[in-house]
Amino acid sequence: MKQEFTCIVCPVGCTLTVDEENHQIKVTGNQCKRGLEFGEKEYTRPMRILTTTVKIEGSLHKRLPVISKGEIPKEQLHQCLQALYELSIKAPIKRGDIVVEDICHTGVNIVASRGIEPLIND
């Protein structure tokens, strides 16, 4: 089986061709090592970084941007989003703080993408 992908690792956007013969996966078209790795993964199990926002309370900000600390299987993105949309967290929070540990058993943590100060009432 032969498939074509656009590499999304960097802005160059190489067109990768992935060929499978006798359980041997061969990637061509990549200009760097990262493309090789991406092509293999994209062929076997596509993975994506997930970014979105969650509700935050006790701050001037109403939403906290979050990012997955690693890649999540593409087919599980929707499920992860739903979990995050149910969430409401409290300020303060620091960049990198874990918002959800091991989201949907993917083994990946969702972390705060920025710090948010609490609202100071004076």
């Binding site: 926002t53 969650v54 509700k55 939403r63 949309y85 409401s88």
Partner: protein, 583 residues
């Protein structure tokens, strides 16, 4: 007479094949029925009939194959309002909060009258007023002998006092009608001769020009000295010194605020669904919310004036909507021209059913091109088409080719409320006592507004016999300082007094939160994004609200104690946000 009309229609080749039914009342009102292929033909036939001698006005019910303009069935609403039993009483109901309605409201507030202005829109001036180019015409182009011609010259002169009392910007810059051909310059000079010798009074088409004050004849060189950026080498120009330029919305707001100061009530978001009459006497109106009983009902409903007249049982004219589009340029062209310019040259400006149409500078310093003039079937159709922009571009190019369309920051359209006589209809109804028509108000409606108001005031005074003065009447509406026009010292002082003025919301136009909050809590409260924009100019600059829009929306929500999702762009269902994304 019927035959005369038929003959006149049939003399036009493209109209000859239509079957048109004509009815004629003894008062000289023609009603036209039939079906034609295109809208322009409906309008043409209406105009032809109106021109026949002895015809007072035209009710045009001709339809176009394939176009149905649905008429709202109000019976259910009427039943509901009746059932609700909500009734209030006043002396005068004014339908329509445009420039005419607001001017009349203010004029009548001099007397002990309980006045209510109703408008179906969420803000004043939402109709033709807000889409006007702000030219206070000198009255040269109006057809001699018309009501327009008379009220235009009179109204123009009255603007000086209005501006003094109400404190709006009114730049009496004069305007230039420029000619580019020697032969046309001779014609202009001939007009001068006619004016000086007063011989022009002998020729009907020249009579209006004889009455317009402040005309001056300038040589080509003088024109170039006054307007260094004007296109090419003009042969000369007619300087009409009485031309003034205003921000139409500001004028309307000033009138409305002053009216409120003097006791007038405004009911916005309120649509008249019926006019109440009994035995040939008006008894008030029914709105979509309640019944308002009154002695007088003044119909200033713009493009809907004919519908309101029909509700009162006195329909003797049809309003055919004529759309006008305008383009506004970036302020970087500030001072490019000093006064409104229009080309009188035939090869440059193709004559159309439009007043003026050219280039001018708004009081705030935006170059403005337009308006266009296009007959349209739908009264609500405020779209701008490519053909409009082509026409606007041509208008602009008549006086300058250095300004490029890429400098345009916005374009929009308004709809003029033209009747088939192409004149103002200002009269007490002959069928329903107390119902006053103020219809067919199109250009020069803005210039004529003070005179129209005075005329209606006199009409009610005469009808009533005697009116008691409102002893608290105050014609002065204090100016509201505009932050952007102040010195840095004045700005600092203002911020020290109220820190909200220290927070810039609209960067393009330098509008502060203080001004926005003032607008929201003003005498005519701004409750929508567009209303805030028109009062403060927030969002009128080159980014067109991209940056300040969300901020103004937040301020509106906060000040009106509403959720952001409840805030609209311009009333009705024009919500900006659909829902909170995490609830």
């Amino acid at each position: 007479m019927k035959n005369k009309i038929l003959k006149a229609i049939q003399s036009h080749e493209e109209l000859a094949h239509y079957t048109i039914h004509i009815e004629l009342s003894k008062e000289g009102i023609v009603t036209l029925r039939g079906e034609v292929d295109q809208w322009q033909h409906v309008v043409d036939i209406g105009h032809i009939a109106a021109k026949v001698k002895g015809i007072k006005n035209v009710v045009n019910d001709i339809t176009v194959k394939g176009i149905t303009i649905p008429k709202k069935d109000r019976s259910e609403e009427i039943r509901k309002v009746k059932a609700s039993g909500h009734v209030r009483t006043c002396d005068v109901v004014i339908i329509g909060a445009g420039i005419t309605g607001c001017a009349i409201a203010r004029a009548l507030s001099k007397y002990q009258l309980d006045i209510i202005v109703v408008d179906k829109n969420s803000d004043i001036a939402e109709g033709a007023t807000k889409a006007n180019n702000g030219n206070i015409h000198p009255g040269l182009i109006a057809k001699p002998g018309t009501l327009k011609a008379k009220l235009n010259i009179k109204g123009n002169a009255m603007y000086t006092k209005w501006a003094e009392e109400l404190h709006f910007a009114c730049n009496r810059t004069g305007s230039l009608g420029v000619v580019y051909h020697q032969s046309e310059w001779y014609l202009l000079k001939l007009l001068q001769f006619m004016k000086i010798t007063r011989l022009g009074y002998l020729f009907k088409p020249l009579r209006q020009a004889m009455k317009v004050p402040g005309l001056k004849w300038l040589s080509g060189q003088e024109v170039q000295k006054l307007e260094p950026h004007i296109e090419g080498k003009p042969c000369g120009a007619l300087l009409m010194t009485t031309m003034a330029i205003v921000e139409p919305y500001d004028v309307c707001l000033a009138l409305a605020e002053n009216a409120v100061m003097n006791g007038v009530s405004y009911m916005l978001d309120t649509e008249v669904i019926d006019v109440l009459t009994e035995h040939g006497q008006v008894k008030g109106v029914m709105t979509d919310k309640e019944v308002i009983r009154s002695k007088y009902v003044i119909n200033c409903a713009g493009v809907y004036a004919d519908h309101i007249a029909e509700m009162a049982g006195d329909r003797f004219y049809t309003i055919h909507p004529r759309r006008g589009a305008i383009a506004i340029f970036d302020k970087s062209r500030k001072g490019y021209f000093n006064r409104p310019l229009v080309s009188f040259s035939r090869t440059r400006g193709k004559k159309q059913h439009s007043k003026g149409g050219g280039a001018c500078m708004t009081p705030e310093g935006n170059l403005l091109w337009g308006p266009t003039a296009k007959e349209i079937p739908d009264k609500e159709d405020k779209s701008v088409e490519r053909t409009d922009m082509d026409y606007i571009h041509a208008l602009g190019n008549h006086v300058t080719t250095n300004v490029k369309p890429s400098e345009i920051i916005t374009f929009f359209a308004g709809v003029r409320a033209a009747d088939y006589k192409e004149d103002f209809i200002i009269s007490m109804s002959e069928k329903v006592d107390g119902f006053i028509h103020v219809a067919g108000i199109q250009s020069p409606g803005l210039a004529s507004a003070p005179a129209i108001a005075e005329m209606v005031e006199d009409m009610i005074k005469k009808d009533q016999g005697c009116l008691h003065k409102n002893v608290h009447y105050n014609p002065i509406r204090k100016p509201r300082g505009k932050f952007r026009h102040m010195s840095h010292q004045e700005q600092d002082a203002l911020i020290q007094k109220n820190p909200l003025y220290g927070h810039v919301i609209c960067r393009c136009e330098l509008i502060t939160e203080g001004e926005i909050v003032d607008a929201i809590h003003g005498l005519i409260p701004a409750t929508t994004l567009d209303a805030v924009k028109r009062r403060t100019r927030s969002g009128m600059g080159r980014c067109q609200g991209g940056f300040c829009g969300p901020k103004v929306l937040q301020i509106l929500a906060r000040e009106l104690h509403k959720e952001p999702i409840e805030i609209t762009l311009k009333g009705s269902n024009s919500y900006v946000l659909q829902k909170d994304n995490r609830r």
